[in-house]
Amino acid sequence: MLKTLILKEVTTTIFDLRFVIATLLCVVLIPLGMYVSRKDYEGRLARYRGEHAQYRQRHGVGISGNVLEVEAQGFRPPSPLSIFASGVDSFMPDRVLTSYWGLYHTAKESRTGNTHSLLFGKTDFVFCVTFIVSLAALVLSFNAISGERETGTLRLMIANSVPRGHILLGKLVGIYVALLIPFLLSLTIALLVLEASPDVSIASPEIGPAFLVILGLTGLFLFGMVTLGICISTFARTSADSIVLSLLIWATLALGIPKVSPMLADVLYPVERPDLVNLKKGLVAEDIDKELVAETKKLRDEVYTRHNLPVNMASSAQEFKKADAELKPAFQSLLEQYRKRSAEALQRMEQDYRRRIHVRSLLAVNLSRISPVCSYTYVVTALSGTGTGEPDNFLRNAQQYQDAVKNNIYGKVAVIRTGGLTGYLYADGYDHRSISLPDMAYSYPTLTSALAEIWPDILLLALFCALFWALAFVRLNKYDVR
């Protein structure tokens, strides 16, 4: 009997005008979106490679010029999975510039591309699923129960001693299968479009497994949407009421909650803007630096005066060398002291800021998890390396890079500034001609670590399915079938 019900459901759905419209929209928009994402990725990859190569060419081996001004550049490669979910990618900086003073900064190439695309937003895979396919799911299922009631067939089914649970299950499976047809069709076309790219291969280890997981989770999400539609139809007596309810709920879940929850979190727990924080950090660093310069000068003046040397001169004569030798350890300890102080102060400010950001972020995420659309988006973007955890990942990589450069270069040179003169103290073995700037080894989270991060949202998606099913079941048992 279940098989009959499911078969009936699949056939009635396929022969409906809605199915045709849904198929049309999917088949047009999903491959188109994939094509654009692919082209975008290829462009970004080319840009990354080009910049990297150029940079290596200019700064190959050897460091020229003032080590104070040496800025090593680390480039962030685009993640191939970002084709599926652009997420926060278009806002991420694309390079890290280290600095002698420990305060790296980030930069983003600022020439704007296709302005119209920027105005209207992207059509990546996640967009298509959360907007088009989920809407299609609701449109196909919104009058599952109420429609049958209107046409009188619900009475007939129940009069034939069919348990209500079976009716529900039949509807669920039937409509889900019917939905998967246009979805998988358009996905196949889209994957062919993707495979045609020279830079991307779906079977590769960096895309393949993650893509399978994304596909599975998309299936789970769509199942939840179909269940939601059926659930809504048990709450209404007529098709007209059902559709209005469905559209309203969809608008709330897909548009309302995702956009409102970060706003709400910001209202409830405001945090200052990052450029303000960076400014403050810069000012603090500059101030500490000024102090250092003053102290250095004082020390030097004192020692030189003791050696009866003129304070405003530097020379390699015998007397000067003796004074300089005495100063060297003192300078180094002073530098260490101030460096530590600067690092600590900046660290404190950074940690404080990060802590506040995290609280707000947690608030936003938890507020938004009311909507399965948000959970799904979090899941897919996290797997693609473009999710809400990517900024932290970037900063981790940036800090690692800064530390690497510090260990290899900055740490080997102590710069003594006394206001008018600048001197350098080189560590042993440091040869500025043979040393080269290190590359940034940017790492995205692995599949397993991403899954470990997002399991709450995966669980939520499953729970949504269960919740909507339970609700529908309870309602249907009390539903007036006449």
């Binding site: 005008l17 809605r18 937003g121 992207k122 608008a251 409102v260 970060p262 405001p270 936003a364 990517e390």
Partner: protein
């Protein structure tokens, strides 16, 4: 009779479940979006002011001694109207850094500390209207005609001698007025929220008029959506059919067309990647500089060295003669006297000559670079304009895109803002060049200094005065889209009328 029908329409709409839902959504989302936008603007403005002040204090005047390669900074202030449409604002750079090379660079501070907001997008006025309001209006109107047909009341109305066009007109008018009530209230609340900010005064001369225009265009957009909804309802016999059509129409107009058409424009007019352009420009510049270096090495430097050597030889000669004279104690011969008396200290003259030559070369080099880069930029710009024009015209199929263009154009966050930014940046660069770079420069190893310019007491850098286009200019740019919005209303209304006149009311 007109009044009766309209009043019935308003009452019928207002008594439904959909209307309550619409009211709730409008009252909730529009003021909330405005509030958050206001907070965000206040923060952006505060940080702009702080940045500007800190810059003025610490780097506003170049540190003496000046070498001519210092960089001045200009900051782009946030526009109040960007609260209404964030548009391209997150993608436009916020700082200009001038350069002695003539090519300024722009910096956009990445703001990735609220990733949820970036992930889902903001709910500014533009998004609220194009996403939520359009859907609400369509939900309210999709069964205007088909619903009455199903209920049988359409027959009753037509059985009284009411002409069909009047029925249609009253439907549109009634639904429009019914929707405007909750919408108007939410807008009023939102505007009050805006006014409550100490930084913003909506009656001020740079916000007030634009705001009125935005409101007017929004009313026009809502009208076009009402007409679309009523039009949809004339195409189908049952509400179910209308719903499908509604779904399709909304998905196409709001999601499909605006996103797909720029893609199509890119396919039709592909552009070279912007980083590629930068790369090309850098290569070209280095090429030209290398060329001129070569020229200098081949012409000026050897000449200079030759003259210098000649001078040194003469000096040595003179010293030799003097030594000989001292040794022997005799008087110089006529020849020797001539040599002794000749003014051989022309070091300064030789140096000056070399400098002049180098300067001339530097000037030529600059001009050549400017020409070449200018050509590349112009070419890229032309291609980009062509692509933009195609994208815009394709997008205009949808009233939603037209509305987006109008509002983002009026708020200074539209598709032309990046160009506006670059114009301002270029102007700033030119200003700094006039005041500073032209006065003192370091070129090809030589420093040239203008008259009266003291490298130990340089003047402060000028401030960048960022100008947004005026309202008149904006209106001139967006009037086609405003016209199109009006035409959409007429088109949908006419289509509805044609369908309705022939439709079967039984």
């Amino acid at each position: 009779m007109l009044r009766t029908l309209i009043v019935k329409e308003i009452a019928d709409t207002a008594l439904g479940l959909r209307f309550i839902a619409t009211t709730l959504l409008c009252l909730l989302l529009i003021p909330l979006g405005m509030y958050v936008g206001r907070e965000d603007y206040e923060q952006r403005f505060a940080s702009y002011q702080e940045k500007h002040q800190a810059y003025r204090q610490r780097h506003g005047t170049p540190e003496p001694p000046v070498i001519g390669q210092e960089e001045a900074q200009g900051f782009r202030p946030p526009s109040v109207l960007s609260i209404f449409a964030s548009g391209l604002d997150p993608f436009v750079p916020d700082t200009v850094i001038t350069s002695y090379t003539g090519v300024f660079r722009t910096v956009k501070e990445p703001d990735i500390d609220n990733p949820q907001s970036l992930l889902f997008g903001k709910l500014d006025w533009l998004s609220s209207i194009t996403l939520i309001v359009s859907l609400m209006v369509l939900i309210l109107t999709y069964d205007a005609i088909s619903g009455e047909k199903e209920r049988g009341t359409l027959r009753l109305i037509i059985a009284n001698s009411v002409p069909r066009h009047r029925i249609l007109l009253c439907k549109i008018a009634g639904k429009y007025v019914a929707f405007l009530v909750p919408f108007g209230i939410s807008v009023l609340i939102a505007l009050l929220i805006l006014e409550a900010s100490p930084l913003i005064s909506i009656t001020s001369s740079h916000i007030g008029p634009t705001l009125l225009v935005i409101l007017g265009v929004t009313l026009l957009f809502v009208l076009s959506m009402v007409c679309l909804g009523v039009c949809i309802s004339t195409f189908t016999q049952h509400s179910m059919g209308s719903i499908m059509l509604l779904f399709l129409a909304w998905a196409l107009f709001v999601l499909g067309v605006p996103k797909a058409c720029p893609i199509l424009a890119e396919v039709v007019h592909p552009l070279q990647d912007s980083a590629g352009i930068d790369f090309t420009e850098r290569m070209v510049r280095e090429d030209i500089e290398r060329q001129f270096e070569q020229i200098k090495k081949e012409t000026i430097d050897p000449e200079y060295r030759a003259e210098w050597d000649a001078m040194m030889r003469e000096n040595r000669n003179k010293a030799q003669i003097e030594a000989r004279l001292r040794e022997t104690g005799r008087e110089p011969t006529e020849e020797e006297a001539a040599v002794l008396n000749r003014d051989i200290n022309r070091a300064q003259a030789i140096i000056d000559k070399r400098n002049e030559g180098a300067n001339r070369l530097a000037g030529e080099c600059d001009t050549r670079i400017a020409e070449a880069l200018g050509r590349i930029e112009q070419d890229y710009q032309n291609k980009r304009d062509a692509q933009s024009a195609v994208a815009m015209n394709l997008c205009r199929i949808s009233p939603v895109s037209c509305y987006a263009y109008v509002v983002s154009g009026l708020t200074g966050t539209g598709v032309t803002e990046p160009d506006n930014f670059f114009r301002n940046a270029q102007r700033f660069q030119n200003q700094v060049e006039d005041v500073f770079y032209d006065q003192v420069a370091w070129r090809l190893g030589v420093q040239r200094r203008a008259e009266g310019f003291d490298v130990f007491d340089p003047p402060p850098f000028p401030d960048m005065e960022y100008g947004y286009p005026t309202l008149a200019e904006n209106i001139q740019a967006v009037w086609p889209d405003v016209l199109l919005l009006g035409l959409f209303s007429v088109f949908f209304g006419t289509l509805a009328f044609v369908r309705f006149s022939k439709c079967d009311v039984r």
